[in-house]
Symmetry: C2
C-alpha cells in the first residue's frame, strides 16, 4: 500500500454535489488499496468572499488575522468531504494544518513550508483511517498562529505533502483535462499532452497557462514528485508532469503560450556607460516590478535604446520608478515610450536544446504571415517574442501549425 495524494481545487468542490463527486473519485482509489491523502481548497467563491470581508473591515490589516479568516473555507470543505466519505463507508477524517502539523515561516499570507510532520497522519492510517483530508493552503507558524501560503497555495500543500509522504503520485484535479499544446480557445486543434517536463511546465505556467501554481511545480521538481493534472469532471487520464528522463522521447516543442498581460517600455537616448543597466533595473526591482524581457540595442554615438516588458498592472509603477531615478540623476534618457498594445508569444520545449534551427523556423513562419516581431528573448528551452496585440491569436496558430503540435 502506497500513498497517493489528490488535490481538489475550488471548482472541483464548488458545491455539495461536486463534493459528492470528489468522494467518489477518492473512493475508487481507496478500493485500489491506496492510502489517499486528499488536499482540498475552499468551495469556489468562498475565499474571495472572506477576503472581501477583511478588506471592507479595514484597508490595512494584520496578516495574522487575515490568515485566521481566509483559512476557514478549506476547513469547511475538509469536514464536509470527510462526512461524505464516511457516508460511503470509508473511514476518513479532516486535518487542519496545525493538527498535522505543517510548520511554516511567519510570513503571513505568503508563508513558506518549513517542515511537515508525518507521524500523526501515519499513526491514524495504521489505526484504520483510509483517507486523510488536509485543508490546503494553510499551516502553523512557530508562534502557534495560523498561516497561509498565498493564493493557489493548495497546489503547494499537495506537492509538499507528496514529498513528505513519498507519495507515488500527486493528482491535481482541476476544471481542465490537462496541459494543452496551446490555449484551446485560440487554436481549435490544440492537443492534450500526455507528459510534460517540470522545466517546460514552469515556462508555460509562468506565462498564462494558469493550471498549476509555479511554486508547486518548482517544489515538485526539487523533490521529484510525479504530478498529474486532470479534470474532476471527466474520467480521463490527464497530463503527467515529471522528470525529463521519464519521457520516452522529447519533442522539440511542447507548447505555445501567449499572454496579453504585457506592456513594452522603451527608454530611448540612454547615455551608454558601464553600469547603466543596473542603474535602470535596480530602482525597478526595488519597486517590485517584475521585469520580464530586456533588450539593449547596439550603441549609436554615445547613446542607446533600452526596452523591457513588465505586467500591464505594473506599468504606472515602473514609469514612476524610472522618473524618480531620473530626477536623482541616476539615469539619463531622452524619452520613455510605453506600448500596452503588445502581446507575448512563446514556444517552449526541452528538445530545443538539442535541435538547431528552432528560432529560425519560428521567425520565418511569422514573417511569412507578415507578423512583425518587436522584442525577442530566449532561454535554454523557450523563445519569447512580443508582437502587436492584434496579431497574437494568428501568431499562436501559425506556430502551432509550424511545429505540428496537433500531431503526437
Amino acid at each position: 500500500m502506497s500513498y497517493l495524494v489528490q488535490k481538489f481545487g475550488g471548482t472541483s468542490v464548488g458545491d455539495l454535489e461536486r463534493i459528492e463527486n470528489v468522494a467518489g473519485i477518492i473512493a475508487s482509489e481507496v478500493r485500489k488499496n491506496n492510502k489517499v491523502i486528499a488536499i482540498v481548497s475552499a468551495m469556489s467563491g468562498e475565499t474571495n468572499r472572506l477576503v472581501e470581508q477583511v478588506k471592507q473591515t479595514s484597508p490595512v490589516y494584520d496578516g495574522r488575522e487575515y490568515d485566521v479568516i481566509v483559512s476557514t473555507g478549506e476547513n469547511i470543505t475538509a469536514g464536509l468531504l470527510a462526512i461524505k466519505l464516511q457516508d460511503l463507508g470509508i473511514p476518513a477524517r479532516s486535518w487542519m494544518g496545525w493538527q498535522i502539523p505543517i510548520i511554516t515561516t511567519s510570513m503571513h499570507s505568503n508563508a513558506r513550508i518549513l517542515e511537515i510532520k508525518t507521524e500523526n497522519i501515519e499513526k491514524k492510517f495504521v489505526e484504520g483511517m483510509k483517507v486523510a483530508i488536509v485543508s490546503g493552503f494553510q499551516g502553523i507558524s512557530k508562534e502557534n498562529r495560523i498561516s497561509t501560503l498565498g493564493r493557489g497555495g493548495s497546489d503547494t500543500t499537495a506537492v509538499a505533502i507528496s514529498a513528505a509522504f513519498n507519495a507515488k503520485r500527486c493528482d491535481i484535479f482541476t476544471d481542465v483535462e490537462g496541459i494543452f499544446t496551446t490555449d484551446p480557445r485560440i487554436v481549435k486543434n490544440a492537443r492534450k499532452l500526455d507528459k510534460i517536463s517540470y522545466e517546460e511546465m514552469l515556462e508555460l505556467a509562468s506565462m498564462g497557462a494558469k493550471v498549476l501554481h509555479t511554486r508547486s511545480v518548482e517544489l515538485a521538481m526539487r523533490y521529484d514528485v510525479n504530478l498529474q493534472v486532470l479534470s474532476s469532471f471527466r474520467e480521463k487520464i490527464g497530463t503527467l508532469v515529471c522528470r525529463e528522463d521519464k519521457m520516452l522521447e522529447s519533442r522539440m516543442i511542447s507548447g505555445v503560450a501567449s499572454s496579453k498581460d504585457e506592456a513594452k517600455v522603451t527608454l530611448s537616448g540612454v547615455l551608454d556607460k558601464p553600469g547603466i543597466a543596473a542603474a535602470i533595473f535596480g530602482p525597478l526591482s526595488e519597486s517590485g516590478i517584475n521585469v520580464d524581457m530586456i533588450i539593449q540595442n547596439v550603441s549609436e554615438n554615445e547613446t542607446t535604446d533600452i526596452t523591457f516588458s513588465c505586467p500591464m498592472s505594473q506599468v504606472s509603477a515602473a514609469e514612476a520608478a524610472i522618473h524618480k531615478a531620473s530626477k536623482k540623476k541616476e539615469i539619463s534618457f531622452k524619452a520613455c515610450v510605453i506600448d500596452t498594445e503588445v502581446a507575448k508569444v512563446s514556444i517552449v520545449g526541452i528538445g530545443m536544446r538539442s535541435h538547431a534551427g528552432i528560432a529560425k523556423k519560428m521567425f520565418e513562419s511569422l514573417a511569412h504571415e507578415n507578423i512583425n516581431i518587436l522584442v525577442i528573448s530566449t532561454s535554454e528551452i523557450k523563445i519569447s517574442i512580443l508582437v502587436e496585440q492584434k496579431y497574437m491569436e494568428l501568431a499562436v496558430q501559425v506556430l502551432h501549425d509550424a511545429f505540428e503540435l496537433d500531431k503526437v
Copy 2:
C-alpha cells in the same frame, strides 16, 4: 487593571457595521484601563448555514467533523473584530479554542469544558496586547480535535473564561436590554430588572426567557461570576445576574414566565400500587422525554389519575412510550388523554421562601378572573401552573399586576 469579559452574540456581530459598533464598545472599556477578553459568536445566520451544509451532505454525520465545520464562523468574527480594533489603534488579537487552550470533553457537538489555561493569554497581555478576542462555543478535546459546546455555548465560554481569569464582570451583549419582569410583548408595563439572582434566572431561563443559556447561568452561580445582560445596540445599563446576598432587598416575586410549548398528558384509572410512578416515568425517561410537572390524585378505590406535562414536540414519543409499557404489562390504565391546548405560567422569586401567602395570592388573583388552574407544581422559588392556552396572556397580566412587578 482587572479583567473584564464581554460576550457578543450573533446579532451583535451580524454584519461589518455591527462589528465596528462592537469594536467601539470594547475600545471604551480599554480606555477605562480594563483588560478586555471578548468572546464572539458567528455572524447571525452563519452557523445555521453551516449546519445546513452538514445535514445536506449526510443526515448522519461524525460529530468531530461537524465541529470542524460549525466552529469556523466564530473564527471569522474573531479575526474581523481584531482587525477592526487594530484599525482603532488598539492592540488586539484573535484566539481560537485550541490556541488558549480551552480543553473539553470529547462529547462532540455538546462538549463540556474541563480546563482553561490562562498562561498564553496572560503572557500576551503582559507583552502589550489590550484585547483578547476568543472564538466562542469551541474548544479542543484531549485527542487534539476541535470540539463545540452546543448551541448557545458562547455564553458558556464567556462565563468559563470569566471564572478562569477571575474577571470582575462578564457582560453578555444581546439584542434585548436586559431581563424583564415578564415578556414585554404580553405585558406593556413589563419592567427591566436591575438585578436578579442566579436561582431566579435559572427558573426564568429554563422557561422561555431565552436570553441566557441555562448552562452558563449554572456555571456563573458555581464560580460566582457577576453576569450583566445588556444590549449592544443601546448604551444602557442592563440586568446584573448575581448572588442573592448581593441584592439589597429581595423582592417577593421577580418575574412571570409563560410558555405555550407544553402539553398535558393524563392517565386515568391507573392501578395504584407501590412503584407505579417509577413504572410510568421510567420508560418516559428512557425515551428522552423531558417530563416537567407531575401530579397524582388521591386514590379512589384502587385506581388513581396521573397527570404530567412535557414539551409539545415530545408528546407523540411520550404516548408511544406509555403504550409500549402498557403492552409489556408494566403499567395498566383506563385511558390516556392528551391536551395540547394548555399553557404554563410561572411566578419566580427568591423572596417566596420567606413570604407566606404567595401561592394564595396567585390562585386568588386568577380565580378572580375566572381562570381555571389545571395543574399546579411548586419549587422553593417558583410556582407553576397549567391553564387553558387561551387564558395565558390574561394570566400573565393578572399576576404581573397582582404582584406589582411594574413598580421598583
